[in-house]
């Protein structure tokens, strides 16, 4: 890996999160414009995050939801009683 690619590879997550200082951000941006390999890396990482974010959230199953309420109520009643 070339030095510029290595640097971009190390910083690409912070770039995606908008957490880089302006100067480094511009440096990464310029490199991404001219390097197809790093641009692919950036793109695949962005898609990975999006995919995980969209596909990860779960809804609590109804039976778990019911058991949770009774357990909490029981516990609080014991404390108060």
């Amino acid at each position: 890996m070339k030095d510029a690619c290595r640097r971009c590879f190390q910083k690409v997550s912070e770039y995606l999160d908008g957490e880089l200082e302006r100067e480094i951000c511009e440096e990464v941006e310029a490199h991404l414009r001219e390097c197809p390999q790093c641009s692919k890396c950036y793109d695949s990482l962005r898609k990975t995050i999006q995919l995980c974010r969209e596909g990860a959230m779960e809804e609590i199953p109804q039976d778990v939801h019911r058991r949770l309420r009774s357990a909490i109520l029981e516990c609080l009643e014991k404390r108060e009683g």
């Binding site: 590879f9 898609k47 959230m57 609590i60 058991r67 909490i72 404390r79």
Partner: protein, 202 residues
């Protein structure tokens, strides 16, 4: 909902709970149960463990809500409890070494062009079978992350906490959050891409 309005709602619910309102307690559970259940499931990989984590988190929360400090955000406080419950559960379970992910090794995987063919979520057909399969691929990949990376990835990318909040919840530095998050993402990219490749060549 805007963050400030969200915080005000939470403060109101906490005050009502302290005054003895069961309805306020119900609303707090309703608001956060899905995200804590998701966190538990992505941390432990089992539905039963996720159920235990949700239950223990809320039980602890309601037990100590009396002493809750107004300057803390309820959501962050709940996840701090949930993270502790997960860690405790992990210690009780089988030995799971907290291995290091090396950036160099992950970088070597970056070498060949076109290796990371990641499906674009926004371009996917709305085929339920495919979605369920893909969800399983994502779930398996996240659960296979070494624990310390899994915690950070779940808090940052799934639950949407920022770097500072994640550092606070985990009790680590912001630099550690950034380092772990980057490696976690690279690891997941490889895992998902390789499963996707297998699926396409099957």
């Amino acid at each position: 909902m805007k963050k400030a309005a969200n915080d005000t709602t939470d403060q109101r619910l906490i005050a009502q709970f302290k005054a003895g309102s069961a309805e306020a307690m119900e609303k707090i559970i309703e608001k956060y149960e899905n995200s804590i259940f998701t966190f538990g499931l992505k941390m432990c990989g089992h539905r039963q463990d996720a159920e235990d984590i949700v239950q223990e988190t809320f039980l602890n929360a309601f037990r100590y809500l009396e002493g809750f400090r107004q300057e803390t955000k309820l959501r962050n406080w709940l996840f701090k409890i949930a993270a502790r419950v997960c860690q405790k559960k992990r210690r009780k379970r089988k030995y799971e070494p907290d291995q290091e992910l090396s950036l160099e090794a992950l970088g070597q995987l970056n070498g060949s062009e076109g290796t990371f063919d990641i499906p674009d979520w926004s371009q996917l057909p709305s085929d339920e079978v495919l979605t369920a399969e893909l969800k399983q691929v994502i779930q398996d990949a996240i659960v296979s992350l070494p624990p310390k990376y899994r915690f950070v990835f779940n808090l940052r990318d799934i639950q949407g906490f920022n770097t500072e909040e994640t550092a606070e919840i985990m009790g680590i530095s912001t630099q550690s959050v950034k380092t772990r998050l980057h490696r976690a993402r690279l690891f997941l990219r490889e895992k998902i891409a390789s499963r996707y490749r297998e699926g396409k060549t099957r």
